[in-house]
Structures are given as C-alpha cells and as structure tokens.
C-alpha cells in the first residue's frame, strides 16, 4: 500500500495485520475478536487469515484475559489484548497494576512484559453506561505502565506498531468516536517517536493541549479562534505516560498561556499533572494559570446528556477566552 486514506479503525486493523505478519509471536486476544472481528471490527478478518491460534476468542473474564496474556508474555509471546470497552477494564485492573506493571522490576529486569492492552475509550457515541469512559489517569499514575493514545489514522497505525514492538506493557487507548474518521497513512514513512507530543497546529497566543478524541475538537476550536484573530497552538499529546513536557514547555514559553482539554473528569485528571508540572517549569512565562476543560466529577451521564458533559467547541473556546482575559 504505502500511502492510503483510511478510517482510524481500519488503520488499526492494518497495523494488527502487519504485526501478525511480521512476528509469529504476536497474538491477538479478547472477547469476540475472532469471527465477529471485535465489536468495532478492529480485528476484522484477522482470525480468518491467521487462525484461531493467533487471534483468540477468550472466555468472558477480563482478569483472565490479562492474566493469561502475562503468562503468554513470560513464554515469549507478544499478546495484544482487546478490552471491549473502557468500563470493562476494571476486572483486569488488579492484574494490570500488581502484576503486569511490576513484573519487570520484581524480576530485577530479567523478564520483559511486551503486552499491549487496547482500550476503545471516551464518549460521544450515545452508548449505555460503562461504554464511554476515559480512565487514562488510573493507568498513568501506575509506574511500570506506558499509556498512549493516537488521534488520527497515521498515529493509529504507527503507534500500535511501536507499542507492539515495545518490551514494556502499553495501555493503548483508542478514541472510539474517531474510529470512522479518515486520514492518510503512509506505511513506509519513518514514524515519529512513540512518546513524543506533536504540534498539530501552530499558534502564538495560547497553547491547547489535548489527546485522543479531543485533538479534533481543539483543532476546530483553534480554527474558530483564528477567525476571531486569536492564534492558538494545538499540541497533540499522543503519550500520557511518559508525558512529553518538553514539547508543551516549548510551546508555552512561546504563548504564555495553556489550556488542557480531556474528556476524563478534571479532578485528578491529566490536566492536573500537566498544570502542576508546566507551572513549575514555566512559572515566569505564564500570563495566566493553566486552565482545564474536562468531564465533571460525576459518573458519565446517560447518552442524552453527554453532549453537555463532554468538552465541546464552546467550552474550549470559553476557556481560551478566560485564559486570554488574564
């Protein structure tokens, strides 16, 4: 292929296919990943082509899925686990936090844990409870894990490749409401570093930091702001742990203002960590406090209320204005 325009979901599918082709030790496992191709069809056609031994429908138990993936990794495999929806990762949380994250340190570096856990996350698709959450903070706080999330098709393709190649456990959050958004994927270009943020749009007056589904929202906000003569830079974080503070710092040293946007609740969210560290690094550069736009301290609401719960264009622009008003 080389360069192709693909929906984000299809880019992930191609990426898994490539990984399965390149390394016989890669296995894909999870609920309904076989014949059904996953509820979002990310694994579509893979079992047909690579067999039931490599694309594995598992019993319905997330702790069991991650726990056996750890065992497979100890045996030399590179499991790529699919968690069906964000809200269903919690039964596996113990295995992820106490085993997957700590196994390498426990072994003094003698074992590695090349396990990728793919989690479709975020809201905006009108789903029922547990299907729209953004639990990334709950993983970023845990040492031993890496946490990344692509915002477009090219990153979806390449970041998943890189996550699978990594010898560390990677929690790979997929912005489910962007699955159907198309973007160019060059399967031959040299990809950027997995844990580097990317300036998605340049600007001089204010920096917006976002990741996953909110990158698109922030790009739209920047475009709208531009019409009002405000020059907004947008940083697509891409990696939440490690978090590329350097790129944000460079941007903020230029703009002097920072707004962080994510769907997850603000309280103890990524925005807090970014605000704390960037304020420390850029104390004399900031013209305004770092502002945060995100979910409220309430369970993710029913679908008919989610539009108000989720940060949208208006709420981002409101924060931009508040920041510029300092």
């Amino acid at each position: 292929m080389a360069v192709q325009k693909l929906p984000l979901a299809k880019a992930l599918n191609e990426s898994l296919r490539t990984a399965l082709e390149n390394d016989p030790k890669v296995v894909v496992m999870g609920l309904d990943v076989g014949k059904l191709g996953g509820v979002f069809r990310i694994t579509d056609g893979l079992q047909k082509d690579f067999g039931e031994d490599r694309v594995i429908d598992t019993p319905l138990a997330e702790s069991g899925i991650v726990g056996t993936a750890i065992g497979l990794a100890l045996r030399g495999y590179r499991p790529v686990v699919e968690i069906q929806f964000d809200g269903f990762v919690f039964p596996a949380y113990d295995q992820i936090v106490t085993q997957l994250a700590k196994m390498r340190a426990r072994s003094l570096g003698t074992v590695k844990m090349p396990v990728v856990i793919r989690i479709p996350y975020g809201g905006g698709i009108g789903a029922v409870e547990h299907h729209s959450e953004s639990p990334e903070s709950l993983f970023a706080h845990v040492a031993g894990l890496k946490v990344v999330t692509p915002a477009n098709s090219s990153d979806a393709y390449w970041m998943l490749q890189q996550a699978i190649l990594s010898d560390d456990p990677v929690i790979f959050f997929e912005p489910k409401r962007r699955y159907w958004d198309k973007g160019e994927v060059d399967t031959e270009a040299l990809p950027g570093e997995l844990h580097r943020a990317r300036v998605a749009r340049e600007g001089t007056d204010l920096t917006l930091v976002a990741y996953g589904p909110m990158v698109k929202t922030c790009l739209e906000a920047a475009a709208a702001a531009a019409e009002e003569g405000k020059s907004v830079e947008v940083v697509d974080l891409r990696s939440i742990s490690p978090l590329d503070f350097d790129t944000i710092q460079t941007s903020v040293e230029k703009t002097g203002r920072l707004v962080v946007v994510h769907e997850a609740p603000v309280f103890f969210g990524s925005g807090a960590e970014i605000a704390a560290r960037i304020t420390e690094r850029c104390f004399y550069h900031l013209e305004a406090p770092v502002l945060r736009v995100g979910g409220y301290h309430a369970p993710y609401p029913p679908a008919r209320l989610e539009e108000e719960y989720l940060p949208g264009l208006d709420r981002v622009l409101d924060a931009v204005d508040r920041s510029l008003a300092y």
Binding site: L31, P59, V128, E129, A298, E308, D314
Partner: protein
Amino acid sequence: MTVESTAARKTTRRSSGAKRTGASTGAKKTAQAKPGEPELVQLLTPAGERVQHPDYDIDLSAEELRGLYRDMVLTRRFDAEATALQRQGELGLWASLLGQEAAQIGSGRALRDDDYVFPTYREHGVAWCRGVDPTNLLGMFRGVNNGGWDPNSNNFHLYTIVLGSQTLHATGYAMGVAKDGADSAVLAYFGDGASSQGDVNESFVFSAVYNAPVVFFCQNNQWAISEPIEKQTRVPLYQRAQGFGFPGVRVDGNDVLACLAVTRWALERARRGEGPTLIEAFTYRMAAHTTSDDPTRYRRDAEREEWEAKDPILRLKAYLENEGHADAAFFEELEAESEALGKHVREVVRAMPVPDHMAMFDNVYADGHALVDEERAEFAAYQASFADGEAE
C-alpha cells in the same frame, strides 16, 4: 446424579438466620438423561406434550397456565415493540430476550413478593413478573438515565451491565436476609458468558460458606455475543455448583413449567435455610445480542431455525389448545391486550422527557460533595451565559 459427599455435610455451617434449619448440598435426582446428553428437567415437550418428572413436578390450574402464557406473550410483544422503537431511533440500543421468555417467566413467577431479584440487562420478562412498568426499563436504552427505577418498590434491582457483578450483590443481600431472620429468598440472574467471571465464582464461594438464601439462575442461551458456549466451559454449566458445595440443576429453558417448578423448589430450599442452588436454564438467544449486533457474521441461520421449533410460547399454546385450557376468546383478548401494551409503550417512550442537563450533578452523593456543588454552579453560570445572548 447427586453430588453431595459426606464430608460436605460435615463441614456445612449455618452462618445465621434463626428460622433456617440445617443445610444440604444435594439436588434432587435429575433423571431421564438420554445417553450422550446431560440431564435436563422438562415438563413440556417442544410439541406441547406434558411429561412427568419424578422430582420436579408441578400442578397448575388452567387459569395459572393461561397466566403464564399471557406473561410470555406480553413480554415478547413488549420486546418486539422495543426492538421496533430502536429501529425508529427512539432507543439507542435494545437487548432482546426473544426465545428466553419461558426461562424468565417461569423463574419470575416462582417468586414471592418479599423475594428480591438481581437481574443483568436482559431480564425484561422477570421485570414484568415483578410488576415493574415495562417502560421503566427503556430509560437506559433511550439514554435518559442509567437505570432509573427504585429497586425497592418492586424488589427488582437495577439492571447491571458489568457482567457478573450483581451475583455478589445478590449474595450480600441474601446474607442480610439471613441476618434479619427473614425467610425471603434472592434470585440472581446471569448468562453463560458471565459464568466465566471471577465475581460469579466468588459469589458461589460466599453463598456456600454463609449458606445464603440465594438462587443463581443462569440463562445459558449458548452465546455471549459471538462466542459460543464452548468458549466458556467444556462441561454443562449446572455442574459448576457441585464443586462449590451446593446443587446444580439443568432445566429446559424453553419450558415455562419446568422453569417454574425448578425455581420454586430452589427458592424453597433457600427459605428453609438449605443454602444456594444453581439453575442452568438451557435456552437460546433467538435474536441478535443487541440491536447493534450482526449475528450473521458468526452463526448459521439453521441453528436459529432449529430453536424456533422449540419456541417456548408455541409449545405452551399447543398444550393449552390440546387440553382445552384456553378458548379462542382468550387468545383474541390477549391479542388486543398485546396491541394495547404496544401502544402504551410507544406513547410513553416518545413522550419520555430528556432530563434537565443539571441532572448530571444529581445523586452523585447522598450527603453532598463540595466539588460537585462547585461544578454545578459553574456549569449553571456557563449555561446562563448563553441565555444572556452570546457567551463571549
């Protein structure tokens, strides 16, 4: 096959509950297994013939039989209406119980008012038996709430989506019933897929150890979305119970009489202080997993057709007709009632209000939370800023 061992009896203990006496781990003998098939309690054949069972029999009046039929027909009608409403965009999603009416009505009608039910998300027929207004069930599928009924008004807990969790709630609730010295029982539903979850197995441990008055009702509809039952177990699920020290029974899940008889027996055991029971209702999910699902990707039409021949409603209808337990007038009236129910459901759903946006800050805490108050106020001010003309 009995599964008890003498040692089992020896170590059986009562945790509490003054009225409860003793405990046993034995199921009644289940019989009539054809060679090569596990035992299955059946009282009504797919053709609608009444058969006897030495242990789990039941004697129902014609009126009672018609009542069960009515329940199943109305439940199916409600379910079809909900599916249609989803197609029309009135609901975001629907999880149909098509094919599982007997399992749900049979077990649901075995309950006493003071019993308590912990459903998953597909127990529309059980809700019906509990007297829950069916339109209440639609709120979460319409996206206006995440549950939305008071579980205590009908002793019917909220739908639970995280698979298996509710089996532990049921067990804890049953421990409380026993502590109270009450003789109510608790009925917990889960699916064949959910049976693999740690929580379900922990609920077996806890209920056995505390001898809790809970009945686990597993609707094995043979599919967990696209995964066939072989992905969850290689032996029949009802056998799971014996290794935890309580009886398991497999019942024909498309036979409403058998489901009623076996559930009654199990609830009675629970009331008598004999502890938990696992019932596996062997049935079939005739529809897609939900309206979002496409079963043609993973299962053959022929399988579904096979099961249509075992339809739970048709077989009771045949029996009613053959025995002269119901006349044409009954069926006509029921048809009219069915239509009326459909109309009611449509009307209520279409009129169902979207809650005020501020509702998302409600009920997060009972005793309040400063941050929620702050965010509520900020949100209100932000919303008001639009009302006052342009925000900025």
